[in-house]
């Protein structure tokens, strides 16, 4: 009788713990996603004007790309990089992750804010250049010990191109100033 009561209590505790874990992970992911703030300005995009649907798509896909970068570099996994990136950007980011796996480092990009301006949109709409002034809290850890923690402001030149169902980042290059 006692054993069955304990067993029942143990099972229910496990269920609650599993639920709490799932909830926590999902909230964390949601938090990671909602922690990336992006403001996009298309006024200077030329020679082609940016269509309204394209503006929304770029905003959505750029935000998702940075969420993916944060996840990839925090958890040292290349999976989040498959969708939002192409070409050299994907290659370099994967290289970063592999390098981190080998060295035991990881990076956290927290509280990201991106003020992005579109500066070029090709006549046929097949490439867009963005200038991103990104602010985030950058934490670098070695085996769990934080070795670097700073509030960083970085200027990125970004090239995005349309893929089958989204816009992807082809180049993400940091520069001292625009």
């Amino acid at each position: 009788m006692h054993m069955s009561n304990h067993l029942a209590r143990f099972r229910s505790s496990c269920s609650v713990a599993a639920f709490a874990l799932c909830l926590g992970v999902s909230l964390n992911l949601h938090a990671a996603d909602s922690a990336v703030q992006v403001q996009l300005d298309f006024k200077k995009a030329s020679p082609r004007g940016v269509e309204e649907l394209t503006e929304r798509a770029i905003l959505r896909d750029y935000r998702f790309a940075w969420t993916s970068i944060a996840q990839a570099l925090e958890f040292n996994t290349v999976d989040p990089l498959e969708g939002p990136f192409a070409g050299d950007a994907k290659r370099w980011l994967k290289q970063s992750v592999v390098s981190q796996q080998q060295s035991g480092l990881n990076q956290k990009y927290l509280d990201q804010t991106h003020r992005v301006e579109a500066v070029f949109y090709a006549p046929e709409g097949d490439v867009m250049e963005l200038h991103d002034t990104a602010e985030y809290q950058l934490q670098i850890s070695d085996g769990g010990k934080v070795i670097h923690d700073e509030h960083a402001v970085v200027h990125y030149v970004v090239l995005m191109t349309p893929a089958a169902d989204r816009w992807v980042i082809r180049l993400l290059q940091a520069v001292p100033q625009f």
Binding site: A86, G87, T161, R170
Partner: protein
């Protein structure tokens, strides 16, 4: 106890098998209209035209060809192999892949010795359910009624050599390596030239025409998104098979997109999107659409009918007709499609028919038909 589940499963299986056999061919019930079939092995005597026809159709449905042919009057000008061929189709036509799901028959005219019965045949096909209306003539031979089967017209195509000199386009895809900008073949340019959104009995319908403005073939799909006043998408659908997907250069096709159970009252905007991709294609076969006329059929429906003439040397296994109907302003008021269940042999023709909704028949001033075709083993 441990055998309870297996025994239950066996009993359920047997019951379901019996039920499947008993209720084969039933296609809904309407008082006064004979439908479906009788229990297997217990077909009624052909003592009435209804019973005789039901026996024939049930045997044909079950592919009991000897029994079915035995239900045909000897005065029919058809042998058993032609009779079977007429049912099961040939040359890879749509009928070859179809099966008779059910039927509804009703008497049109009955005397002591002969009868005219109208039958709606419900076919299950790879392209969805198809209905076919036919009239059957029955005569009384002794105590039983028999169906007079019409002479089966098989196109007689003389042996000949037909040279194929039409253009063919092949597609060479690039390598897997991502060389941005170095390998560039644009998707074909296609343009929607008209769009009309209407409410129908089944829901909202968006239709119109699209043209391939390019110099290469295109595989085309048209999508439509219904948007409400707040800019939110209500529903998104595509043209599915109510379009001729492969468009050769400068070819025009109608398209129709159905939104079942949605009314245009809640729709503020319709966002159209046409997708065109490169595809290998051939300009052969050329199929002419002859003798097109809008008339009322035996059931009083407005039908556009005509003949498809295969002007080439290859068999077209499954012809598909897409028709656009215009009002006196040239606006597309309806798009209908239909499959021809017999293969189009070279240099021969087959009839086709597509229905126009009663509510629109009066508005139709002109029409245009394009022919899609699916041929086995060919792109």
């Amino acid at each position: 106890m441990k055998f309870a589940i297996p025994i239950t499963l066996v009993v359920l299986t047997v019951l379901l098998m019996v039920a499947g056999l008993v209720w084969t061919g039933h296609a809904g019930g309407t008082v006064g209209i004979a439908a479906g079939s009788a229990m297997y092995g217990l077909t009624p005597n052909a003592d009435t035209p209804e019973h005789a026809l039901a026996n024939l159709l049930t045997d044909a449905q079950r592919r009991n060809w000897d029994r079915a042919y035995a239900d045909v009057s000897k005065t029919s000008d058809v042998d058993e192999s032609s009779f079977i061929q007429d049912w099961i189709g040939s040359n890879g036509g749509l009928r070859s892949f179809s099966s008779l799901e059910g039927f509804d028959s009703r008497p049109m005219h009955i005397t002591n010795d002969e009868a005219q019965m109208r039958v709606r045949l419900h076919w299950t096909t790879p392209v969805g359910p198809i209905e076919d209306a036919r009239d059957f003539h029955l005569i009384k031979e002794g105590d039983v009624w028999k169906t007079v089967w019409p002479k089966v017209q098989v196109p007689s195509v003389p042996a000949q050599v037909v040279p194929v000199t039409y253009l063919r386009w092949d597609l060479v895809t690039g390598g897997a390596a991502d060389e941005w900008g170095s390998k560039n073949v644009d998707a074909p340019h296609v343009r929607i030239i008209s769009m009309n959104a209407v409410d129908s009995a089944e829901g909202a319908v968006v239709m119109g025409e699209v043209v391939n403005e390019d110099t290469i073939p295109a595989f085309v799909n048209v999508n439509a998104t219904l948007v409400d006043g707040a800019g939110n998408a209500i529903d998104q659908e595509n043209s599915f098979d109510k379009i001729a997907h492969i468009l050769l250069p400068k070819q025009v096709t109608p398209y129709r997109i159905d939104f079942p159970t949605i009314s245009l009252k809640s729709v503020k905007n319709v966002r159209m999107d046409v997708k065109a991709t490169l595809v290998p294609a051939s300009a052969d076969p050329v199929i002419g659409v002859m003798n097109q006329k809008v008339e009322s059929d035996v059931q009083g429906k407005s039908i556009l009918h005509g003949d498809l003439l295969n002007e080439s040397g290859q068999t077209v296994n499954i012809p598909h007709v897409v028709a656009s109907f215009y009002d006196n302003n040239g606006k597309v008021v309806w798009v209908a499609d239909g499959y021809v269940d017999r293969a189009l042999l070279p240099q021969s023709s087959e009839p086709f028919a597509v229905e126009i909704p009663r509510s629109l028949a009066g508005k139709v001033q002109n029409f245009h038909v394009v022919v899609n075709q699916y041929s086995l083993g060919r792109s």
